[in-house]
Subunit: 377 residues, 3 copies
Amino acid sequence: MKNSFIAVLVLLILSGCNDSKDDSSLKINVFNDAQIKNSMIKALEWQEAHPIFAIHPTDWTNGAYYTGVARAHKTTKNMMYMAALKNQAVHNDWKPFKRLHHADDIAISYSYLYVAINEKRRGFADLEPTKNFLDAHLYEDNSWKAGTNRSKEDKTILWWWCDALFMAPPVINLYAKHTEQPKYLDAMHEYYMETYNRLYDKDERLFARDMRFVWNGSKVDRKEPNDKKVFWSRGNGWVIGGLALLLDDMPEDYEHREFYVNLYKEMAGRILEIQPSDGLWRTSLLSPESYDHGEVSGSGFHTFALAWGINNGLLDKKHIPAVKKAWKAMAACQHDDGRVGWVQNIGAFPEPASKDSYQNFGTGAFLLAGSEILKLQ
Amino acid sequence: MKNSFIAVLVLLILSGCNDSKDDSSLKINVFNDAQIKNSMIKALEWQEAHPIFAIHPTDWTNGAYYTGVARAHKTTKNMMYMAALKNQAVHNDWKPFKRLHHADDIAISYSYLYVAINEKRRGFADLEPTKNFLDAHLYEDNSWKAGTNRSKEDKTILWWWCDALFMAPPVINLYAKHTEQPKYLDAMHEYYMETYNRLYDKDERLFARDMRFVWNGSKVDRKEPNDKKVFWSRGNGWVIGGLALLLDDMPEDYEHREFYVNLYKEMAGRILEIQPSDGLWRTSLLSPESYDHGEVSGSGFHTFALAWGINNGLLDKKHIPAVKKAWKAMAACQHDDGRVGWVQNIGAFPEPASKDSYQNFGTGAFLLAGSEILKLQ
Amino acid sequence: MKNSFIAVLVLLILSGCNDSKDDSSLKINVFNDAQIKNSMIKALEWQEAHPIFAIHPTDWTNGAYYTGVARAHKTTKNMMYMAALKNQAVHNDWKPFKRLHHADDIAISYSYLYVAINEKRRGFADLEPTKNFLDAHLYEDNSWKAGTNRSKEDKTILWWWCDALFMAPPVINLYAKHTEQPKYLDAMHEYYMETYNRLYDKDERLFARDMRFVWNGSKVDRKEPNDKKVFWSRGNGWVIGGLALLLDDMPEDYEHREFYVNLYKEMAGRILEIQPSDGLWRTSLLSPESYDHGEVSGSGFHTFALAWGINNGLLDKKHIPAVKKAWKAMAACQHDDGRVGWVQNIGAFPEPASKDSYQNFGTGAFLLAGSEILKLQ
């Protein structure tokens, strides 16, 4: 008996994503609460031991990661998550990154806000840098808003790429709630609509990553090999994951709440329709054959958003099996040492991943998914 | 044979504190030197990989932890301890935390002093911030000393809670010895007596945590369910652990040394009297039934102090079995990955712990205990 | 079968350097690419989890370590190496350490240059502090150059000890290449010749560590017990390892390239002549019996340099077995948890090491060696 247990461990060391043989040979119920919590903590421990970022510890990559850590703490109350959140907040002096007009650079403040709200030691949390960033970001002019930024001609709105809808809105929404200042929510909605009107494809019920992927009927329109439009899994994961975070803290009576509820439901329905049979979404949503393997960052955001919807009555319980299938497949992408593999590298459109490819935001997506899967039980 | 070895490992992953079955099934002599050293190093490695603090890396929680790391190095000379001590000292710029009137904020300087004394590279250690803190702490007025601090009416002396007797006195004592300035020791003694006179219960030979727990015979006196006084295990651990550190570096001919020797002997006798049969003290010393499980931070400080007393001739060797029993039980509270569990969270009076609850100061207490248990052999 | 696999793992935990029994019982081909890469990554992960330095994270010890990490990334492209390189560069603000006249303090810039060259995000890398250091180091007067430094009478040249030839020249060379400013290379050559003329022993084809070990025929000349001269393994490893790094980035048409090629070939031949039968060099090259065990930091630099020479056509392929023997023996010095043991502590002449003794620069030497062993296949 122990032998086979060890045998499985040894196999797992070598096993990759969707390696159903190993997975099935593993006599563990991946939907056992303790099992899910253990997978999540191992993901945290591995990621904390393998710091990574694009350009700075406060950039969007840690922003997404620590948002996942915060939600994992909110569900489990495991002190390891809070210790990690406090540690990075203090080492970062509670500062967002530096580009005041760039949504990426405020994403980290979701974790600062979470700590400030839940760790009430007097004079500990410092939300001043977050406030200053948000005020500049929302209320000061900049070349993108003005449309005078010619570096890229499509940067004529504040949030010109869909990822931005995860990076800034949930932070603004949580800040508005925490400080009881609805004006921030109103400012957010205005910019959100600019992005929605520009990048949301009502026919496909998916977001183009940016203007490069919006068709104008010209022959230079970007197409997948199968002639379909390019819809990036992680890009849409940013949007629907951000919607779940938004709705979770948005006042029930907020005048525009219905817009976000409907957008969430439209996208959730579409994401479910196109879920591959093994449970994990490919990096190109409408051209899964391009890179035909599950990818964990996009799948993690989708799984988080769908499970959140079921847990909050926006999505029918009949979808539980689909969501559980996704988690089971994601769990099989985690290495035995805790690393969450099969994460597409930093990018802006569909590219392949590998068993070993990891990123902190992939771990964040894994933690976000787990934090809602736990509530499905 | 290997199978049973693995079986034990697997069991240990699931085993908790005082789980005598697993413990006995483990065919390892916990008093073997290599075994004790291995438990200590695993505790260090786990804690270094899981940074945690109350409000800042230089606060009292790391102060207590790195005091344990320093003593572990003093006994074992294992370079891993010194590497960790130097790493935190340099990253903290050799600075205590910021409240100049608060004993908690100077505790970290015990580790700075230890490094300065033992790592003699020219221009490496910087004790200036420690000196400046001590001079302000001991020789400048503040509202607590003046008794004009009305935030809490019982804060009318510098060290108004018993934990303070671990946080500041050993640092002051070591600084006085290192810089050969007895005046610091004299200042320390004056403040120590203020606390002793206020919080030491001569009948119970234990310290009340603060004035809230000192009885005045009024009906609002805080009582345990069994009508006894509230004596907190960790609170008294802070005092007796601090006494062992103090006496270890206090000049043999210091005029007030006898006072500390007698206080140590009184408390040590009492701590031994009330040791539970499984070796570990409960969080409420006189109401063990309140939370009837061993707690490792208090027990670690008691075990350190008692073993130190035996190793230094202040306590009879007949108590060795009691001290070894405590260590054996503490060792069973360490998870297989090195985590020291069953540590009561940050607090100020008896509260329960759990198999998974950890704190860096609990790991520090574990290292302090191990550093003297090694010398018992 | 699994049992024996586990048995080996368990044995390895206890196995030390050159423990041929365990090594042979391990049914793994240490020259299998995946195996070498796994040993290297485990070394990186262990070292990142166990930070250590002499006086500061930017000192020469991390300089040598992260040079190894950079070369490991150059060969394998494993993102874990780049994540570690970026992480330390950002936390160090891209700054060398502080003594502008000291070669040790610029060694860390090799890693900064590597990141700058390979991670092209706009405004990410900052080479200004490196430029400022190099300009002061090479072009400003100081007491050592002037010979007016009387702290040690032999410090009358800039690079007065042979270790310096690893610390500064490869950085200067890479900076000259990256910025296309040959003048830096010319300045480097001038100082290199000063050290060569002073410390290189043409008869022994080895470098004295510093003037204390250069014989003047007086009776105070330092001798080994066997009356031979004192040639330190790591000291010569610094030189020949530095030569491999230098030649790797030195323009083919550089006027003085031939000098470095010849020096490399002379030393390589000598290092091979005196390689002990088990593959690992002792800390005293001409008195191996003084401390008769393999030492990994010196052996790592030798192995790196020799493998690099074979891979680049400067050394005959017939030496492959000798180099592979060295790597196999080094691999046996790595603990099961990844720690690279048998590394002589910080020093300036032959001293013994132990199974547990480690240093970050030893891990760097291990990574350097692995990065070229991989190319031997």
